[in-house]
Amino acid sequence: MSRFVLRRLVTVVLTLWAASILVFAVLNILPGTPAQVILGTQATPASVRALTIKLGLNQPLVWQYLHWIQGLVTLHLGNSYISGQPIAPELGAALEVTAPLVLLGLLVGLLIAVPAGILSALRHQRTSGAVLAAATQVGIAIPNFVLGILLIIVVAVDLRWLPASGFTPWSTSVGGALQSLILPSVSLGLVEGAILARFVRTAVLGVLRADFLRTARAKGMRTGQALIRHGIRNAAVPVVTVLGLELSGLIIGAVVIEAVFTLPGVGSLLLSSVANRDLILVQDIVMLVATAVVVTNLLVDILYRVIDPRIGLRS
């Protein structure tokens, strides 16, 4: 196991290293100096030169790249080109919104996917099962931001139960913060839950037909009992694989959902830095999100080997 984890860790580090080169290259592909952009069109050439030197942008690209990587690894992210504020605390504050949002979204997704998937598998020959299966099919097609706006219309505008947008900081009120995350995480999780539900259904259907389940039934167990005792672990493997893909979907979906509900998270920070052409901040956030995606995939890889030891540890 540890050898497998080690090998995968090396791959992850190599992938992220290649990703960092790609991101750096793309964001520095255009000629033209960020200093000019920051100071605007009325800046004198002298002040542009001074700022370029101050930001280290007169150095060779390789030097700039190494400097950036060094900052990333040691978490000294430097200052924003535009606001001049240090990036690390700003990113930290944004993560306090985004991380709970993604996790709550995952929770909502699982709470929908597991019962709906199992139920529609157990009743797949009855109408209720077919209705559930059809509902998940429709659920997949509704993009999270469309669902978010529909939820705002019904829950916030019509019923006035929850705020339509904005975020109450955790330090002000934990309850308030959670309240402002309810609609966003439901919009985020519902769609992912619908996708996941189909895989749960297929997996459970597969297990229901398995020989070991028939044996368990022959021993006198009820279907439900046998499913809990022998089925869950077997059905979990394909589901966990998909869960990994879903998690990347949740992470990138959070960017859009934060825009829908004007939450001050990582996604909003990314969009505002794109709008301001604060390229260093864009560079950092893109790497952060890519890292989150890659590391999530690694965790899932490890997790499904824990669930099913039969899967080769070396492959």
Binding site: L150, L270, S273
Partner: protein, 294 residues
């Protein structure tokens, strides 16, 4: 005797149209998806030549109207006809998503073929590159490119296309590997056919169904990404009508006119549903072995 055999033969091998109809009946999701896609494509084509009003035409006295006889779906805050904008919004959506799928297929399919037929270092390099691109979800790639090149239809299309390359490369590679392992390819090799000829004569025709299915499924993903980008203001810039842009705009008027947000939302969801159902259905029809066992 002769007539009897003929009768039996025709019962066993019914006409093409009949067979298609039977398959469609057995697979309502493909039929429904196909119909939805057809309607959206027709609307998109019609919208190029005709919409009830100009999609950019402003009627100042008629702002924020609900659905009515003159404006079937109502108007936005400038008095622009929502139906016309919804219709003409189908164009950038379909063009962008189809463009992205073309880019992804144009690079991903040859890459997958090359990787499958060459093997070794070349294959390893191609698949690692695909893994690398895969760690950048379409939206993230698009946001990055927009940061450099600015928001435009082309930036969005190219970014989503590049991010979708791995999807094609992987499907092409795994399907090609199966074909390359068959006895008839071995025979063709023994006969002295060049690798390129084998790819053209044996591999490509056999993996075509997988590619068609993948294209349809991918279209549902790219439609979603295109809509999300234009919602975020990173796609086709206003005042051109886009579904995402209309949704974003409508969000400012949720308290006055919530229906305004419903139309573009419905259009996006239907479009995604259509391509998704079509792809799923085609997969079942073209390759029964891929069907999840029920």
């Amino acid at each position: 005797m002769t007539t009897l055999t003929a009768g039996r033969a025709s019962a066993e091998v019914p006409g093409r149209a009949h067979r298609l109809w039977r398959l469609a009946r057995r697979n309502p999701s493909a039929l429904l998806g196909g119909l939805v896609v057809l309607v959206i494509v027709v609307v998109a084509v019609v919208a190029v030549f005709w919409t009830p009003y100009g999609p950019l035409a402003v009627f100042p006295g008629q702002a924020l109207l609900g659905p009515g006889p003159h404006h079937l779906l109502g108007t936005d805050q400038y008095g622009r006809d929502l139906l016309s904008r919804l219709m003409s919004g189908a164009d950038p959506t379909l063009l962008s998503s189809a463009g992205a799928v073309l880019i992804a297929g144009g690079i991903g399919i040859p890459a997958g073929l090359l990787s499958a037929s060459r093997g070794g270092m070349v294959s390893e390099l191609i698949m690692r590159l695909a893994d690398l691109i895969y760690s950048f979800p379409a939206l993230l790639a698009a946001i990055t490119l927009v940061a450099v090149f600015g928001a435009s239809t082309i930036t969005a299309t190219v970014a989503i296309g590049i991010a979708s390359i791995p999807a094609f490369a992987r499907v092409t590679r795994s399907a090609s590997l199966t074909v390359l392992g068959t006895d008839y390819v071995l025979a063709a090799r023994a006969y002295g056919r060049s690798p390129l000829a084998i790819l053209r004569r044996h591999v490509v025709p056999n993996i075509l169904p997988f590619i068609i299915v993948q294209s349809s499924l991918l279209l549902s993903v790219t439609v979603l990404a295109v809509a999300a980008l234009s919602y975020l203001g990173l796609g086709t810039p206003p005042p051109a009508a886009t579904w995402g842009g209309m949704l974003e705009n409508a969000q400012n008027y949720l308290y006055q006119d919530p229906l305004m947000a419903v139309w573009p939302g419905l259009a996006i969801a239907l479009c995604v549903l259509g391509f998704n159902a079509l792809g799923d259905g085609l997969r079942d029809l073209l390759d029964p072995t891929l069907r999840p066992r029920e």
